[in-house]
């Protein structure tokens, strides 16, 4: 893997930045070069939240992902805004509970995961983000339980240690979908 340029996007409050941070930490633990860059500003309050994540074998140049290899779209505005930016041959993972339309592109691989519905059905609160993360890891061939545990330890503070189990459950659900 030379570099994976990923863009996570959705509503503020969906855990977009957290999901990106988790992927970045997982890369760091696995000795990859990583960067994580959030969008910031008034748009984060109730509007679109997004972050650029790069995981690479070589040093990261620009941390800004304008043409992602992988787009995680957790709401319709995100898909509308970034669908065309995905590189040909790239991947889109969409939360199909919140995005009713299909992806228009035919030169990218698309996975529809009803993550918000799955989270609600499994009493996983607002962990739709981690269900999507599970699917992402599975599809890029990066799903190992050891890696998950170590990365979760990094992103979940000691105060919220009890959240680790449900996060693992959510990731597993997504990976198996």
């Amino acid at each position: 893997m030379a570099a994976k340029n990923m863009l996570f996007s959705g509503f503020g409050g969906q855990g977009i930045l957290f999901a990106g941070k988790f992927i970045a930490y997982k890369g760091l633990i696995e000795d990859k070069q990583v960067s994580w860059l959030p969008s910031y500003g008034p748009e984060m309050r109730g509007g679109t939240a997004s972050c650029s994540v790069i995981v690479s074998d070589t040093p990261v140049g620009s941390p800004i992902v304008s043409n992602p290899d992988i787009l995680i779209a957790m709401n319709l505005p995100s898909l509308d805004r970034f669908e065309d930016a995905v590189v040909p041959g790239g991947m889109i993972i969409a939360d199909s509970t919140l995005i009713e339309r299909k992806v228009k592109r035919d030169d990218v691989t698309v996975f529809y995961v009803p993550a918000t519905q799955m989270a609600s059905d499994n009493k996983l609160g607002n962990l739709a983000n981690m269900i999507i993360v599970g699917k992402l890891l599975k599809e890029i061939g990066d799903y190992t339980e050891d890696g998950l545990n170590a990365a979760l330890d990094k992103v979940i503070s000691a105060r919220h240690a009890d959240m680790k189990e449900v996060n693992l459950k959510a990731i597993k659900l997504g990976a198996e979908y």
Partner: protein, 353 residues
Amino acid sequence: MSDKILMKGNEAIAEAAIIAGCRHYFGYPITPQTEIAAYMAKKMPKIGGTFLQAESEIAAINMVYGVASAGKRVMTSSSSPGVSLKGEGLSYLAGSDLPSLIVNVQRGGPGLGGIQPSQSDYFQSTRGGGHGDYHMIVLAPASVQEMAELTVKGFELADTYRMTSMILADGTMGQMMEPVNLDLDVKPAHEKPWATTGTQMAREHNIVNSLSLVPEELEELNFKRYDRYKVIEENETMFEEYKVEDADIVLAAFGIAARVSKNAVDEARKMGIKAGLIRPITLWPFPKAPFKAAAEHAKAFISVELNMGQMIEDVILATESKCPVTLCNRAGGMIPDPKQVLNSIIEVNGGMK
């Protein structure tokens, strides 16, 4: 790699300052640097330090003046409009030869401007920032690791030369997270026999002051200060060269613009265009030597900036007009895409055939 953690650039600056022995922070919140103040607010009380949210930027910089006079490591941070407010204090710090660290996480301007990343305070920073003849040492990090390392370096240079060091970052550098190793090399602190720490009735009074009403004496102070600047220019210049040795097209860029430019250099090389990059790490003193040397073999220079073209003037001066220098830029909070920089390289390269 387990010794590396992910940190935002702003947080890395704050933690590095604490590691460097800074126990006094004064600030006032402004996007996109507020994480520095937030980090200090959390940490300083736990380690016996001072965190104080001042009533304004002007108050904060004058508190910095006070602590610096007492010989302690001290810092403040802000973003563009806030740094303008600190301008008077920066000049007084220079006039009193006081060491301090100022962080400017730039946003688009002028005026209140926007909150997205910018490099449009290059002129303001490299030419002093306030009134009078003076310079600050201006350090331009291009990674979260450098945000930490240059913070330590900034304190050390400030103490060595009794002047202000500025970290000139931008919103991207402040907000992005990258792995950082905080096992930083910190040199022992300097003695500061000039500091106003109380005479204990055992020595003459130390006076820290920027007022000097006798022109002959004030001239002498200015001459001496510039002698010191000359030493800094000779000894403290820092830069990074990337594929410059055989380059026809040499880019000049710092901070986030350098990261974008590196991508463009790699793409240009893939197309068979010999491109390279000189990244100034000290913006003052400006690294003239690598530019002068590159001008011997380069056909053209491109200054890549997040402003309307400010560093380009230093590039023109440093290359002594031996090569054409063009500008590739975005402004107002926009960031050039590697493709835009690549197109600029292709255009300049083609224009020479």
